[in-house]
């Protein structure tokens, strides 16, 4: 595939590198001369120094035959314009934009940007459950981020302790896969499994249901 990456910062650089290793034809458009030099030294002659929002630039690099355009500069407005020019002037079938302000996501979607990646939301989602006092940790994100494998440790003073699994109001679209007791014995969960404090639960859930799942398993209210 021919993939154009607009923005040659750290993120752009590593995306280009990964895509090149995957055998794709990659072109990076970057405004800053120094960044261009870094990319050229490390990845070869795959970068041009120009403005990836300018229609003239995109024309010169053959955007009309690009399969994907990834706009990953540090500015939401630049990423949006780059994707729009690619889509409306050059009919690029797939445009992907990074955005910083999560509130811009709905606008980008409305305007036809195919995929948006909110770096702020990603960081938030990742650190929220990594704080030391969080009972829920993400173990694995399954392809595309639509499901996650998480583990939850039932707190010592939880009201869930002593209850049957079937008594819990678990959110839909999450499933308990494994219960490991404090002593280390693991069991496949049954509706009649009894939960105890400090049990470790492994579950599969949608990202949206992480909080409700945590609340159901820890017995906290909201």
């Amino acid at each position: 595939m021919y993939i154009i990456v607009v923005g040659g910062g750290e993120a752009g650089y590593y995306i280009a590198k990964t895509l090149l290793n995957g055998g794709h034809e990659v072109l990076v458009i970057e405004r800053d001369t120094q960044r261009c030099n870094v990319i050229e030294e490390n990845l070869g002659n795959i970068v041009i120094r120009d403005d990836g929002c300018e229609a003239a630039t995109l024309e010169a690099v053959g955007t009309n035959r690009a399969d994907v355009l990834i706009a990953i500069t540090g500015d939401d407005e630049d990423n949006m314009v780059s994707c729009q020019v690619a889509k409306h002037k050059f009919n690029v079938p797939r445009t992907i934009a990074r955005l910083k302000n999560p509130k811009h996501e709905s606008l980008f979607r409305k305007l036809g940007v195919n995929v948006t990646v909110s770096s702020t939301n990603l960081v938030l989602a990742n650190i929220k459950h990594e704080l030391p006092d969080s009972p829920l940790h993400s173990l694995l994100t399954i392809k595309g981020g639509s499901l996650e494998v998480v583990n939850v440790i039932i707190p010592p003073d939880s009201s869930v302790s002593g209850k049957l699994l079937c008594e819990l109001a678990l959110p839909e679209e999450s499933i308990i896969c494994l219960i490991t007791s404090k002593g280390g014995s693991a069991q496949i969960p049954k509706p009649t499994s009894v939960l105890a404090a400090e049990d470790e639960i492994v579950a599969i859930t949608t990202p949206e249901n992480k909080d409700p799942l945590q609340n159901a398993l820890t017995g906290s209210q909201s």
Partner: protein, 134 residues
């Protein structure tokens, strides 16, 4: 009529002054309060000068975008202008949205996409050309 102007440079400031003098309800937004030096003193200017980023929905709501008649973006950045214009049009359904875009190619494209646009580059060059041609 209620008008929101984003970007208080020479053009934005002057436009705000003109509309305010005609009795329109003007709110002008800029990220830097120093930009408001382009506005007349507060005895003359009756509108509102708001410090904030016009790409931020909270700022726009504070500026009253939910019941404005017109939104005009006149910052120095083309991309900022069209992004703000599209937020005004598609998120807040502002009846009339006008955007200044220096780059004539982008101007043409956004015009086709339904944003009212003007390119001072194109117009300025045309005017100067006419002048020297007599």
């Amino acid at each position: 009529m209620k008008v929101i102007i984003m970007g208080c440079g020479r053009v934005g400031g002057r436009l705000a002054t003109l509309l305010d003098a005609e009795g329109h309800k003007v709110t002008i937004i800029d990220v830097d309060s120093y930009s408001f030096r382009w506005l007349p003193d507060t005895d003359t200017f009756k509108g509102t000068a708001l410090v904030g980023n016009g790409l931020d929905e909270d700022t726009l709501i504070k500026a009253g975008i939910e019941n404005t008649d017109v939104f005009i973006s006149t910052t120095q950045g083309d991309n900022r202008n069209v992004m703000a214009a599209q937020i005004a049009k598609h998120i807040f359904n502002v009846p009339r949205v006008v955007s200044r875009i220096y780059d004539p190619i982008r101007e043409e494209m956004y015009h086709k996409l339904g944003i009212e646009t003007t390119s001072p580059t194109k117009q300025g060059a045309d005017i100067l050309k006419k002048l020297i041609e007599g």
